[in-house]
Every structure is written in C-alpha cells, then in structure tokens.
Symmetry: C2
Subunit: 235 residues, 2 copies
C-alpha cells in the first residue's frame, strides 16, 4: 500500500469528560488509570483510537465501556497536542464532553475502572494535561448552557423546575430569582407538565415536567438567555 512518505505517525487518544449532577452539585467521573505510566493516578476515561472507528465512535465506545450508557449527550470539545503532554510517547488527545443522568449511570456502572464521582471543584490531581481539559470543559459547559438548553441532559427524564434551578445555580455559582427563572423556562415551551409531583424534596410537592423532544430539537440552535446578567459571569 502506498502511504505518505517521510511523515511521523502518532497515537491519537480520545478522552471523555463526563459530567453528572447529583441534585446539589456538578460532578465529574474519573477513573484510576490502569496502566503505566502514571498507573493508579486519577485520570479522565480515555482510549486510543482504533483503526476502523471514527472519533465520534471512539468517544461513544469509551463512554459505554465505563458507564454502560449509549445515546447520551456527547460533544467534541478540543484537541490537545503539546508534544510533551504524554511523557511516554507523543499522543494527540481529542477531548469530548458528555452530560449524563448520574442516576442512570449508577444503575449500569462498570466497576472495572475504579471510577468515582468528584465534585467539580474538589477533583484530585490528574495525570498529564487532564486538569487543563477539565477546566476548559467547565468553561465550555457554562458558556453553552447560558445559550442553549443542554442542562436537561444532566437530569432524569422527569424533573421539577426547582431541580433545574438548583442545577443552574450550581453551575453558575449564583442564585436566581425563582419567579423569573420559572417564567423564563416555561415560556420556552420546551417543558410539558406532568400530573404527578415529586414529593421527596418538599411537603407540598413539585410538578414533574418532561422535555418536549420535538421542540427541543427545533429550538436547540436558537439563542436563549437562561442566565440573568450573563455579562457579569466569568465565562
């Protein structure tokens, strides 16, 4: 087979930043690396790209290996290519970030990787440049969530407005007026109120809502303004 001559070939790894929300805090799922170098240190879940798979396929495969989940929100973020980022051998790292329902994950967890959820702001030291990747993903999530309705991906199918508000408040480290929040949210027309209430978090109970998937798809690219005074936030 003819190939390009005189060029260096390198490893390409796909790393996944997996976000989850436990009801109070935003978390990321980390694993203990199973091979040298840096064995046993905390790391993002990743893997080398295989000969016959695309980048998206690799990311989905890696996510499934760890969480058992398929069809979740997964987006390519950025490629990292410092020549020294992996001390053993040059590796280009292509980072994806995923938003999953943390409770779904708990049902299907694979224990093979010694994975653990960490509070986003209290994560342990990570190998290589993974901390930089996580920092960028956090920025990106804030940025994107301010404009597009992606945070639903972190919640179960049925969720309440106060839960969603908690999530936004957690992500932006700010508190929003609940009347304005609820009005803005419901005015998108993306939510369908259910008959049942969530009685776990209050005596009165809060109505469950589900996403109107059709409208969600159609409205995804529209600009929203889910965060009051976005110019005051550090993105």
């Amino acid at each position: 087979m003819i190939r390009y001559s005189g060029q260096t070939r390198v490893l390409v790894a796909v790393d996944c930043i997996i976000f989850g929300f436990d009801g109070d805090h935003l978390k990321i799922l980390l694993i203990q690396r199973g091979f040298e170098p840096e064995i046993k240190k905390w790391s993002l879940m990743g893997g080398f790209i295989q000969p016959e798979e695309s980048l998206d396929q690799a990311a989905n495969r890696i996510l499934k290996q760890l969480t058992g989940l398929e069809g979740v929100y997964l987006e390519q973020m950025q490629a990292f290519g410092d020549p020294k980022r992996d001390p053993l051998e040059r590796t280009i790292g292509i980072v994806y970030f995923a938003l999953i329902d943390i409770h779904q994950y708990e049902k299907q967890i694979s224990h093979e990787y010694h994975a653990e959820w960490f509070l986003l702001d209290l994560a342990p030291n990570l190998i290589f440049d993974h901390a930089e990747m996580v920092a960028m993903a956090k920025q990106k999530l804030r940025y994107k969530a301010a404009l597009h309705p992606i945070l639903f991906e972190l919640l179960p199918e049925k969720f309440t407005v106060p839960q969603l508000q908690n999530l936004y408040e957690g992500i932006y480290g700010a508190s929003f007026d609940k009347r304005n929040f609820s009005r803005k949210l419901l005015s998108t027309g993306l939510l369908i109120r259910q008959k049942e209430k969530d009685k776990e978090n209050s005596k009165k109970g809060a109505f469950y809502y589900i996403l109107d998937k059709e409208r969600y798809k159609n409205n995804f690219q529209a600009f929203f303004n889910f965060v009051p005074n976005p110019e005051n936030l550090i993105l």
Copy 2:
C-alpha cells in the same frame, strides 16, 4: 524507548480555513494541492504535524507558509477523524480557522501554492471532507460573530462603520438598519474615532475608527448582541 504497545499510530494533519473580506464579500483562501493523491485539486491549506510542534504551532506555521502572516486570529475548530477521509492513509484532520485582513495578505503572498480567493458560496469542489469543514467553519463564524466582536480581525487597522456594517450584512445575508447598527456598535466603547476620513467610498467621507485593544481584550468574553433578531437566523 518504551512505548504504548499494540496501538495504531496515524498521521495528523492540520488544515486551515482562511477567511478574508474584500469589502463586499466573505472569501476563503484555497490552494491547489501539490502532491498525490488528488494533486492539482482545490484544497484547504494544510500540513502534517511535525514531531516537535504543538497543534497551535503547526497551524501558525501553515498559515505563515501560505500567507506570510503572523499573529493573526487563529482558532482551533474541530477534529475530523473518519477512517476513510483520506483514501491513501488514515489521517486525523484538525481544522483551524483564521481571520485575516485580505489586503495584508496580498502584500505578502507566497505564490508557491497557487492560492486563490474564492467567494465563500462559490467555492470549487474540494478534496476529501474539506467542503464539510468549510461549511462548519462558516456556521461557527456566524455563531461566534453574533456574540463576540471578532469580525474586526477581517478588516484593516483603520476601518469605517459602514465597512463594518457591510461585513456583518455579508456574513448574515441580511441588511441591518444603519442607525441601530452604528449605535449598538459605538456603545460598546470598543472603537476610537480617528480624525481622518475614508473618502474612497463616498463623497462626504466616513470617519475611520480603530479598535481599543485594551478594551477589546477585556470585553471579548462578554456577550454582545451584534445581530438583530438572532433567533431568526439559521446558525
């Protein structure tokens, strides 16, 4: 040297989408590919990553090779990794997009690559998946320019408000009210009016402005709303 065993190494190419604005239309700079496969076909400017350079360095090198320019706006966009995207050998393509002042380029052009500017919507057929890359870059540019003041990068140091409005109108294929446009723009405080006027495009002449670089840096991450009715645009 110890290496990761049993893994496939692949080529990594960096491809640059170079945008320019001729005063009326948004254009991209394409080259005629100089080697097989697909020799002589139109292509983005690209090159394989070298052993000791980072991705950003590679992109800057490639941009400089073609245009002679340094220090221009350059942003990593997306990695493309379909296993069959290059028929000769598997190659991961990492795409950057650059915004340059087309007139600067003309001063420093390298003729080595048979480069030509094409109207964005009338570009020729491109090799591999380059057309997909360009389509994505166009979307991304529209998206980003609606929120951040990046289009200055396409203009000379001194520019007029009508020029800038032309640029926005070209990019969004829409026409904006000049009173509202000018007010919105000047209210950002990013522009400093000069004493001279551009007399080339009108008898009365239009004041030149320059960017307040300090404020530009500080305000870059703030949200703007440069495009009226953004929800009507297809991004």
